[in-house]
Symmetry: C2
Subunit: 294 residues, 2 copies
């Protein structure tokens, strides 16, 4: 894998470091007793930063300068991290490990973990509002985009449905509904962010969003596969955590889930047809995402 | 009280109904299993809507049309409601009653309550971002204002400090620190919102913010007094809930706390001196807030 994807991995790593640097500048700061330490613990744990990296990659593929959207893409990562803290709470997935570290609430307590998630989402919108590198109407549009991805048609709806269906049988459509919101919504938000940076035409934007939606679902299925087949040290979080839940793997089996992930990647790659060769890095990213082991 | 404050009460009620109507339009809507029902339960419980009402009152005192800031003032109420849900969680104050109804997590479970709080703060920023009645740069400025009031120099810092000091002795400065953030920050945010609507000069804005900061603290102390002396049916939430906590009342006694509240009201009224007679409704509101019994 390292050989096949060496160039892509280098490009992803370069962008990841850029995001990492920006997050250092943009993380919530201030008082709040345990909250800043909990931010440090959770936000700055080893992480792929795939969502913001995707936004930057989309911008570059569209021949745009990706620098102006670095803060906005970090805002998405702040929201994503908030959602991980909440998902891990005892009342939700009751997870013990995340990003290779003990879950936030296990180190700082539930109250501080909950306030930290709140501080992260709040800071995400502050970052967007303060972003002097973007015109005010762009900032408002991006805040709108993010809030839709997060809200009751997006990530929160996905998480709520996921919880409601724990220990209940579910069909493929429901599973797809949940994960296109829970994981997919922030992916599509990032694609839209990259499209925004490039001033993409509506049709181009739509194609990029379709790509990201399918990519997000494929990414989630691979996560489920790692949960079943992987080791905790590789996954950086609890594995076999999903035993009580319907996942793509419990639904379709290991081979079936791999098959679905491959099909989603094919669909996501198809969506890029209008862009021709210049979209190659995005196609490669899609193939890379299903090939990953952690 | 009804006789003395009859005109003020009518004005407050008129504004409250306006806010109530707007909240119906602006509440988060969509999927999310129990979340919409939990929003209905918590956001539309009987409430004074004092924060948005304050914003509208400030705008009017400054001779501005308050209508353009109705959505933004509702955004503050959405955040306030989110903070009530979180404060009541078992890991925080473990409260059983709020706004005259069972606490959100008791009816819908902790997970749904937490997601509901998340959906409310997210929707607050969506309301600001979508607010076509305001120029884009005003929207960005208000989002910035709100995020500062909520973040690690504001409400979240206050709540974190409050939790950290439970069952620990605290001095008056700490108590003031906590509540100027926990309660005061959204009050000052609303005053700033009213000032914004009126295009107030920086000095005027500062005076209004000083007024609101002291008003917020006085309001909090009266809350503590109601907690000690009131009945649950009047308070609409658990009373004597604060037994383990240092409050203004446990710190200074009932008479001492009343005295502090009166002094804060005097300070808040003094801040209004530059405005002369036109600020009379705000002075009356301050006197009303300490006279209230629930």
């Amino acid at each position: 894998m390292t050989v096949v994807f060496a160039a892509l991995e280098a490009a992803l790593e370069e962008k990841r470091l850029l995001v990492e640097d920006a997050l250092r500048r943009l993380a919530p700061r201030g008082g709040g007793e345990g909250v800043p330490a909990a931010v440090e613990h959770t936000l700055f744990a080893p992480a792929k930063r795939l969502r913001p990296v995707l936004a930057l990659l989309v911008a570059e593929v569209m021949r745009a300068d990706s620098r102006p959207i670095v803060p906005a893409s970090c805002a998405v990562e702040l929201v994503h991290t908030a959602s991980l803290i909440l998902d891990d709470l005892p009342s939700m997935d009751d997870a013990r490990q995340r990003r290779g570290r003990p879950a936030c609430h296990l180190v700082f307590g539930e109250a501080t973990a909950t306030l930290t998630a709140f501080a992260l989402i709040n800071r995400a919108y502050e970052v967007l509002a303060e972003d002097e590198g973007l015109a005010a109407d762009t900032r408002a549009r991006l805040a709108r985009e993010l809030s839709r991805a997060v809200g009751l048609e997006g990530m929160i709806a996905g998480q709520a449905a996921d919880l409601a269906f724990t220990e209940r049988a579910m069909d493929f459509r429901t599973l797809e509904f949940i994960h296109s919101r829970k994981t997919g919504a922030l992916f599509t938000c990032c694609a839209a962010l990259g499209a925004e940076a490039a001033g993409a035409a509506p049709g181009e934007r739509e194609a990029l969003v379709a790509y990201a939606k399918n990519l997000g679902l494929a990414f989630q299925i691979v996560d489920d596969l790692i949960d079943v087949t992987g080791r905790a040290a590789e996954a950086g979080k609890d594995v076999r955590q999903d035993a009580k839940k319907t996942t793509f793997v419990s639904f379709a089996g290991v081979e079936g889930a791999r098959q679905i992930a491959q099909e989603l990647v094919a669909t996501s790659v198809e969506a890029l047809a209008p862009f021709g060769p210049r979209a190659e890095p995005l196609r490669e990213l899609a193939r890379y995402v299903v090939a990953r082991r952690r």
